[in-house]
C-alpha cells in the first residue's frame, strides 16, 4: 500500500467537480469612506479536484487579500467563493493554509511535535493516533528526528517544512499557500518546490499557491491565473502543459518552459 493511501482521507469525488470556484469576486476596503480602496475588482476562476493552480501578479496587486478571501478569513464585498460546492462562510474544515512567513505562523513556544499536534487536538484526535500522525506527516515532508526541537532551533527551510507538515496534519482536501517560499534562500526554495510537488503527487491533494515569482508558478502549476495591477482582475488563465514529474534542471531548461515564462512575463509587466 502506498503512503498516499495511508495519509489521504475523505471520500473520493468525481474528477469534473470543481474543488474551488471563484465567481466575480470583489473586495473594497473602507467602502463609502474617504480611505476607500478597491483591492480586488473582479476575479473568477475554477480549481479542479487534484489540480495545482498558481496565482501570479505584480507586487501590490492584492494577492494576499485574494488569498484571505479564498480561505474564508475575509468576506468579499461581492461575488462568491464555493469550496467543494458550498459557499464559503468561514474557513472550511477540509482546507489548510500555509502562510508566507514561517516565523510568524509557527508557534515559537511549542516544540515541533506540539506545533503539528495543534490542529489534531482541535479535531479531537486521541493521543496515540495523534502521535502516529505527527510522525507520519513529519516524515512526509522529509523531516526526521526534530520533533522535540523548537522551530527557532531549525533552519528556515526546515521551519517551512514544519509549517507544511502542520497544514497536512488534518488531512485537508486542499492546500492554500501564500508565497510559501519567499523567505528562504534559493537552494532551499528549489528543495521546497520539489517537496510540494511530491507531496501533491503522493497525496493527490489540490493546491492553490499565490506567488509573485513567475518561474516558480510555471514550474509548479498545471494552470496559472495571471492578475493585473491593483485593483485585481484576471488577465488570462494560462495552461502549463509541461510533463510530470518535473525536475529543476530539466524542466526549467526546456523550450516550453521558456516560452511559457516569457508569455507570463509579458502579461505581468504590461499594464
Amino acid at each position: 500500500m502506498s503512503q498516499s493511501e495511508v495519509i489521504r482521507g475523505g471520500p473520493p469525488r468525481p474528477a469534473d467537480e470543481a474543488m474551488l470556484s471563484v465567481r466575480a469576486l470583489a473586495k473594497t476596503y473602507n467602502a463609502g469612506q474617504r480611505t476607500e480602496r478597491v483591492a480586488i475588482a473582479d476575479v473568477s476562476f475554477d480549481v479542479a479536484v487534484g489540480e495545482f493552480v498558481c496565482v501570479v501578479g505584480p507586487s501590490g496587486c492584492g494577492k494576499t487579500t485574494l488569498l484571505r478571501c479564498l480561505s474564508g478569513l475575509l468576506s468579499p464585498t461581492s461575488g462568491e467563493v464555493r469550496f467543494e460546492g458550498t459557499p464559503l462562510q468561514a474557513v472550511p474544515d477540509r482546507l489548510s493554509v500555509v502562510f508566507q512567513d514561517y516565523s510568524r505562523s509557527l508557534f515559537p513556544w511549542l516544540s515541533v511535535n506540539r506545533n503539528v499536534a495543534v490542529p489534531l487536538k482541535v479535531a479531537g484526535v486521541e493521543k496515540r493516533q495523534r502521535e502516529a500522525r505527527i510522525r507520519e506527516v513529519l516524515q512526509a515532508v522529509g523531516l526526521g528526528d526534530v520533533g522535540r526541537s523548537y522551530p527557532w532551533q531549525l533552519s528556515g527551510g526546515m521551519q517551512q517544512r514544519v509549517a507544511i507538515a502542520r497544514a497536512l496534519a488534518q488531512k485537508p482536501d486542499m492546500l492554500l499557500m501564500d508565497e510559501p517560499f519567499a523567505s528562504v534562500d534559493a537552494q532551499t526554495r528549489f528543495d521546497l518546490e520539489d517537496l510540494i510537488l511530491r507531496v501533491r503527487r503522493e497525496l493527490g491533494i489540490t493546491v492553490v499557491l499565490v506567488t509573485h515569482d513567475i518561474d516558480e508558478a510555471v514550474y509548479l502549476a498545471d494552470r496559472v491565473v495571471v492578475l493585473g495591477r491593483a485593483p485585481s482582475r484576471v488577465k488570462e488563465i494560462v495552461d502549463v502543459p509541461l510533463e510530470h514529474p518535473r525536475t529543476q534542471l530539466g524542466t526549467r531548461s526546456s523550450d516550453a518552459f521558456g516560452r511559457l515564462r516569457r508569455h507570463l512575463m509579458e502579461l505581468v509587466t504590461t499594464a
Binding site: 480561505s71 468561514a90 502562510f99 510568524r104 508557534f107 513556544w109 511549542l110 490542529p119 479535531a123
Partner: protein
C-alpha cells in the same frame, strides 16, 4: 559558574562596611557586627519572625490577586477593544495617581487591618501587569491569529494556545514590576498605619530610636525584596525558556 569572580566587588563592599563600621560610635550607623547579631536574635530565633509572616501573608494574597486581575482585565480590554478605548482615560488617571496618595482615604474606608493592606497592594500592583498584558496581546502577530482561525480553534483554545503564550514575555515583564510594587506597598501600608509587619517593626524601632533594630528591619526587608525578585527570575527562566532561546538564536544570526 565562571562568572563568580564578578562578585568580588560585592564582597568588597560588604567587607568594607564591616571593617569601617567596626568602631563606629555614630548613632545612625552602628557596627555591622552589632546589626548582624541583633538580626539573628530578633529575626532568626526571636519574636520579630511574627512581623515577617504577617507581611508575607498580605503579600501572598495581594500579589497573586493583582497579577491575576491584571491579566484578566487586560485580556478583556484587549478582546473588547472598543470598551477598552472608551474607558482608557479613566483607567489612565487612576493609574497615574500614586497609590500612596490614596492610602489615607483607603484607610478611612477600610480601617487598618489586613484587608486594607491587601487592597493597597492590589490597587498599586495591578497596573504594570494590566498594561503589559494589553500591550502584549495587541502586539500579537495577526498572522498568528489567522493561523488559529484556519485551524478552527475555539475562542478558549485560541487564548490558551496563541494569545497567552504570545503575550507571555510582556506579561512576565509586567508581573516583575508588579512584584516590586507589591513589596513596596506591603511596607508602605504598614508604615502609614498598622500594628504588625516589617514596616511596623521598622517604624516602631525608629520611634524608640533603637537604630540598630531599625537597621535589622531594613536589612530583612532588603533581603525579602531581592529574594522574591530572584525567585521570580528563576520562574521566568522556566516559563520563558522558549522566548529566551529564540532571542539568543536571533541575536547570533
Amino acid at each position: 559558574m565562571t562568572r563568580i569572580w564578578r562578585l568580588w566587588f560585592f564582597a568588597l563592599v560588604l567587607v568594607l562596611w564591616w571593617v569601617l563600621s567596626a568602631g563606629s560610635r555614630s548613632t545612625f550607623f552602628p557596627p555591622l557586627q552589632k546589626i548582624v547579631t541583633q538580626l539573628y536574635e530578633l529575626w532568626i530565633v526571636g519574636d520579630a519572625r511574627r512581623e515577617l509572616w504577617s507581611s508575607l501573608g498580605n503579600f501572598a494574597i495581594g500579589y497573586p490577586a493583582a497579577g491575576l486581575l491584571g491579566i484578566g482585565i487586560g485580556a478583556l480590554l484587549w478582546k473588547f477593544h472598543r470598551v477598552g478605548h472608551a474607558v482608557s482615560p479613566v483607567l489612565y488617571f487612576v493609574y497615574v495617581i500614586p497609590t500612596a496618595a490614596m492610602l489615607p482615604a483607603i484607610i478611612a474606608v477600610m480601617g487598618i487591618g489586613s484587608p486594607m493592606k491587601i487592597a493597597v497592594i492590589v490597587l498599586a500592583a495591578i497596573w504594570p501587569t494590566l498594561l503589559n498584558t494589553l500591550d502584549g496581546m495587541r502586539g500579537i502577530d495577526p498572522v498568528m491569529l489567522d493561523t488559529a482561525k484556519v485551524m478552527h480553534m475555539s475562542a478558549v483554545r485560541t487564548v490558551r494556545t496563541v494569545v497567552l503564550p504570545g503575550a507571555m514575555p510582556q506579561i512576565m515583564a509586567g508581573l516583575r514590576n508588579s512584584l516590586q510594587i507589591s513589596v513596596i506597598m506591603m511596607v508602605v501600608s504598614e508604615l502609614v498605619a498598622s500594628r504588625s509587619g516589617i514596616g511596623f517593626f521598622i517604624l516602631e524601632a525608629q520611634q524608640r530610636f533603637a537604630i540598630t533594630e531599625m537597621w535589622t528591619g531594613i536589612i530583612v526587608l532588603a533581603v525579602v525584596g531581592s529574594a522574591l525578585t530572584f525567585l521570580f527570575i528563576a520562574v521566568e527562566r522556566v516559563v520563558l525558556a522558549w522566548y529566551l532561546g529564540a532571542r539568543a538564536v536571533e541575536q547570533k544570526g
